[in-house]
């Protein structure tokens, strides 16, 4: 087992990793920017090293500083959390070169899944259903011909992209040349590569993702799905497990396909396989995230597992203690991402938290690095807390979430709690009737239904 783990991240996920390390009896090293000097992850780690000024590029994305910090503290493993360097294959390689264990999948798996077009192609070859689409486009003519075959509407997507950037929806052939160009320019600017491909566009899909875990002995398991359809501008706002649209048989079949494909790819550690679901409940592979995700807690609540502990154990070479393809799921869990933002405009709202009280009670979990008198810096993402509830069924989970949202006090800044309460009160949400356009009804333009 590792002698010391350095957490190359901040905020709630850094704390989350520290929790797992403490329970495993492994000493921890926190790294922090000057803006995070008084953060909880710094407080609770056994050691802390300041690695740079507030700017992410000079701190949390600063590979040299992070590796140096591992060297001077004698850490032998690095957990990258999510975001920042978590899916950077070069960072994973540098760790390997410096004899530091990167707690995550091997660099070549990160690289494969980081190329969205390549991943799509490979997963299709390995038996996963994909949307009709193309490889990297060589010319405008090729694009027009392919779009014709696929049938409009189509989406132009950046190969090196993700998170909704470098994408354009094309509704008709006459719009294609212009949008193709724009997407390529944006892709070049954002990701350093103008490679784009086409995919059939589903206007109002659902977003379903499967959690996977694999050890270094060839065992791959899936841990069920999460429904992450409630999003605004490709940012998830609320997640739940299981999905109301997935039955046991679908879960079993898709789980089987995923396991077979990932075994072929030589995947290890945690990951999430993302799908779009169309109006007929068909699933199509979208992309894979080769990291632990924000919403992993939802899966932990319905499986009773500690995914971060598993990541560490797997990285240390221990075999997964799971028989078969998966584990049983119990009850229903919902997570609301509580963000520092203006409830009307959704603009981020940095500042000082003057009052803070987290809800408790049966079946309630809050993952947060915020505390009374803490300052939410403007330099990083706006996630303040993850409020996760578990109930015997979806009905109890919703009831519990309503209660917990009501009893969550955050004063001094604006938060998304009021919006989450609107979601939980919405009849369509309660009935499980929604797609990725759902949140439009709460925006200023969509009159609240």
């Amino acid at each position: 087992m590792f002698g010391k783990i350095l957490i190359a991240n901040r905020g709630e996920i850094a704390l989350r990793v520290i929790c797992a390390c403490k329970e495993l009896g492994i000493p921890t090293v926190a790294v922090y920017s000057e803006a995070d000097r008084y953060s909880l992850h710094v407080r609770f780690a056994d050691e802390a090293v300041c690695i740079g000024p507030a700017r992410s590029s000079e701190s949390y994305l600063n590979v040299a500083a992070i590796i140096s910090a591992a060297e001077i503290t004698g850490a032998d493993a690095i957990h990258p959390g999510y975001g920042f360097l978590a899916e950077n294959p070069k960072f994973a390689e540098v760790c390997e070169t410096c004899k530091l264990t990167f707690i995550g999948p091997p660099p070549q798996a990160i690289h494969l899944m980081g190329d969205k077009n390549l991943a799509r192609k490979r997963m299709a070859e390995l038996g996963l259903p994909v949307l009709p689409g193309t490889g990297v486009l060589g010319s405008e003519e090729e694009a027009l011909k392919a779009a014709d075959e696929i049938g409009y509407p189509v989406m132009v997507k950046a190969s090196a992209g993700g998170g909704g950037k470098g994408m354009r929806i094309v509704n008709a052939a006459e719009d294609l040349p212009q949008l193709l160009q724009t997407a390529q320019n944006e892709a070049e600017a954002s990701f350093g590569s103008s490679d784009v491909y086409l995919e059939k566009y589903i206007p109002s899909p659902r977003h379903i993702e499967f959690q996977v875990m694999a050890d270094t002995h060839g065992k791959v398991v899936h841990l069920g799905e999460r429904e992450c359809t409630i999003q605004r501008r490709h940012q998830k706002v609320l997640e739940e497990a299981p999905s109301t649209q997935i039955n046991a048989e679908t879960r079993r079949q898709m789980g089987c396909k995923i396991i077979r494909a990932l075994r072929e790819v030589g995947y290890t550690n945690a990951g999430t396989v993302e799908f779009l679901m169309d109006g007929n409940r068909n699933l199509y592979f979208l992309e894979m995230n080769t990291r632990i995700q924000v919403e992993h807690a939802v899966t932990e609540m319905v499986t009773g597992l500690d995914l971060v502990k598993m990541q560490i154990q797997v990285a240390a070479g221990l075999p997964l203690p799971i028989e078969g393809d998966t584990v049983g799921l119990r009850g229903h869990a919902i997570e609301c991402r509580i963000c520092a933002e203006d409830p009307e405009t959704f603009a981020p709202s940095a500042g000082k938290i003057t009052g803070f009280h987290v809800p408790g009670g049966t079946g309630v979990r809050v993952d947060t690095a915020a505390y009374a008198e803490s300052i939410i810096p403007p330099y990083y993402d706006s996630l303040i807390a993850k409020l996760v509830v578990h109930g015997e069924d979806r009905s109890e989970a919703m009831q519990r979430m309503v209660r917990a949202l009501e009893m969550f006090i955050i004063e001094g800044i604006s938060t998304s709690i009021p919006m989450q309460e609107k979601i939980l009160a919405d009849a369509d949400f309660r009935a499980g009737r929604f797609d990725t356009q759902f949140l439009n009804r709460f925006s200023r333009n969509g009159a609240g239904k």
């Binding site: 407080r43 090293v49 300041c50 000024p53 040299a64 590796i67 140096s68 910090a69 060297e71």
Partner: protein
């Protein structure tokens, strides 16, 4: 409330830990007396206060990492402050000679501080030396690369804050230089 220089016997007698008010009074006194830099250890907690060159309130900076023990921040002027760590470092208690424009050179990177160009060579500089802008004062080694750290000001070295071979973090004070 008088500022105490701590000695080992005083430390042994005095069981109180820092009060917020005590720290605020300390800061007020340092401003009044125009002390640029002050460090004191008491009751297992070390406090270091650095005043910026331009006239203004003193800023309290947290306890520095000594590399082998917990580096927990202790901001005395915001409440509630996180609990202070157990410092095993030796007591340093001399208030610095006041200097309006003393410049503190901080480490621009994470790594290991080396006072000499090589193990058997003499140190680059010593306290009392006069240095010029751009003069190499030390090396910070990171990932097997030796980075020469140059002086940002011309003046006299009044204090070397770290020891040879000590791990340093970003922003950690290395030298105090009194400009000519």
């Amino acid at each position: 409330m008088p500022v105490k220089k701590s000695s080992r016997s005083e430390e042994a007698e005095n069981d109180r830990s820092w009060e917020l008010e005590e720290i605020q009074q300390l800061i007020d006194l340092l401003i009044k007396r125009e002390v640029a830099e002050f460090e004191l250890e008491k009751n297992g907690m070390r406090i270091r206060i650095l005043r910026q060159a331009s006239p203004g309130p003193a800023s309290a900076s947290p306890v520095n990492s000594s590399g082998d023990s917990a580096s927990q921040p202790a901001d005395p002027v915001s409440a509630p402050a996180p609990a202070p760590p157990q410092e095993s470092a030796a007591t340093e208690s001399q208030p610095e000679a006041p200097s309006e424009a003393a410049h503190v050179l901080k480490s621009p990177m994470v790594g290991t501080f080396f006072a000499s160009p090589s193990p058997d060579a003499p140190p680059f500089v010593a306290v009392g030396d006069r240095v010029s802008v751009g003069q190499v004062l030390c090396i910070v080694e990171a990932m097997k690369l030796m980075n020469e750290i140059e002086s940002e000001s011309a003046g006299e070295i009044v204090r070397i804050h770290v020891e040879n071979g000590q791990p340093v973090e970003y922003g950690q004070p290395l030298f105090t230089i009194k400009p000519f």
